[in-house]
């Protein structure tokens, strides 16, 4: 099983504004870092350009980041133990403070590529019901055996 993660953030200003300039400048090196990170499997891209962000129908101010990793540890090491951390430290310059869970994880079969609609549904489940085997977080983590033993729960409505 591989670990899928989605995180969303509401932009303070449009991506082409001065406020977001440093964030946009960090996209290429940080995406390159993620793609070369141990345990990285896949990420949804908005296009072939290094600073293209994922296009979607959930609002112009919503930035989404959606990727798949081999394990909790490899995702953790990229998010918190790499040059990604100092960039994330500046998040409040660029994004509104989150008032509800903004990141969700779940286990997927190897080779499976979930749709963004499924990922957003997982986030809704987390927000509505709290963490469980089908939608969880780093702090309230469920390992893959717990998810596999509850196939009904893993088959979240898409």
């Amino acid at each position: 099983m591989h670990l899928a993660q989605l995180n969303v953030a509401h932009l303070r200003e449009p991506l082409d504004s001065l406020t977001l300039a440093d964030f946009v400048a960090a996209l290429e090196p940080i995406n390159a870092l993620s793609d070369a990170a141990p345990g990285f499997v896949w990420r949804m891209k908005g296009g072939e350009g290094p600073t293209d962000t994922i296009r979607h129908d959930y609002g112009d101010d919503l930035l989404v980041n959606f990727s798949i990793w081999e394990s909790r540890e490899t995702l953790w090491n990229f998010v918190y133990r790499s040059a990604h951390l100092p960039v994330m430290r500046r998040r409040l310059e660029w994004f509104h403070r989150a008032t509800e869970p903004y990141t969700v994880m779940w286990w997927v079969p190897e080779g499976y590529r979930p749709s963004l609609a499924e990922a957003m549904a997982r986030l809704s489940v987390l927000r509505a019901e709290g963490a469980g085997p089908e939608a969880f977080t780093f702090r309230e983590f469920y390992d893959s055996s717990e998810a596999a033993s509850r196939p009904a729960a893993a088959e979240v409505r898409k």
Partner: protein
């Protein structure tokens, strides 16, 4: 829990074992029996006996590894190697539980959105710690940064002109609230520098798996350490985390 930890630590009552534990911990990598025996100045068999006692006590972990670099038939049996156990031990008499309260306070900072205040407080705490570390030098004479970091449990080591930190003294909190705790730790380290009067050194978030999130760079070492333009870009961003916000203001 307390009695288990106390039992583990009683294994360190023997001075040879203490020396072996310290040696293996400070290496920060796998250590073989010969190397440990030589460093501590005892026979290999005696070192092996004590190292295995430390494994039994849960203070060290053992594994097998080829130390020669050769592989395949004829390369010999893998050697037994030791490293510090990851699990932390603490004994407090009378019983104290600062961890639970610290976790509750970290959660409170998150709920209140108080990370900027938390970083300011951490910076002040760093200054105070620097002053305590060098009371007789409080008049402005700089204390020794590496020594202060060692006393604070960071286990500093040199790498390419920078000081890196092998151990995170706030590990449990950094696992539960990484962004808050690493940001506070960076601020605390900046406070230490200010308190020690180390103006030629900067602290920046540069995390690595299994280590502390902060690295120190001396001004003179900057061009070399940042020869890679990408690294320079990332580090530049981290050194002044709120730069663009301040510009807006």
């Amino acid at each position: 829990m307390v009695s288990d930890d106390l039992e583990s630590m009683s294994a360190l009552g023997d001075p040879v074992r203490r020396a072996l534990y310290r040696f293996v911990s400070e290496r920060g990598r796998d250590v073989g029996r010969n190397e440990a025996a030589e460093a501590v100045g005892v026979q290999r068999t005696l070192a092996a006996f004590h190292l295995d006692k430390l494994v039994e006590a849960g203070l060290l972990e053992a594994g097998f590894r080829r130390l020669t670099g050769r592989t395949g038939p004829g390369s010999g049996r893998p050697a037994k190697v030791y490293r510090r156990a990851r699990e932390e031990r603490s004994v407090s008499l009378p019983p104290r539980d600062y961890r639970t309260l610290a976790l509750v306070l970290a959660e409170t900072v998150d709920l209140l959105g108080g990370e900027e205040k938390a970083e300011e407080a951490a910076r002040r705490a760093g200054k105070r710690l620097a002053a305590q570390a060098a009371p007789e030098e409080a008049s402005g004479e700089a204390g020794d940064l590496a020594e202060v970091l060692r006393e604070r449990g960071y286990e500093p080591y040199e790498e390419e002109g920078r000081i890196r930190l092998r151990n995170c003294p706030f590990h449990v909190l950094a696992e539960s609230h990484p962004l808050l705790v690493c940001s506070m730790n960076a601020a605390l380290c900046e406070g230490l520098l200010a308190g020690l009067g180390e103006t030629g050194v900067s602290a920046a978030l540069d995390p690595r798996p299994g280590e502390c999130c902060v690295a120190f760079t001396r001004a003179a070492a900057t061009p070399e350490a940042f020869a890679n333009p990408e690294a320079s870009q990332n580090t530049g961003a981290s050194e002044n985390p709120r730069a663009s916000k301040n510009n807006e203001d």
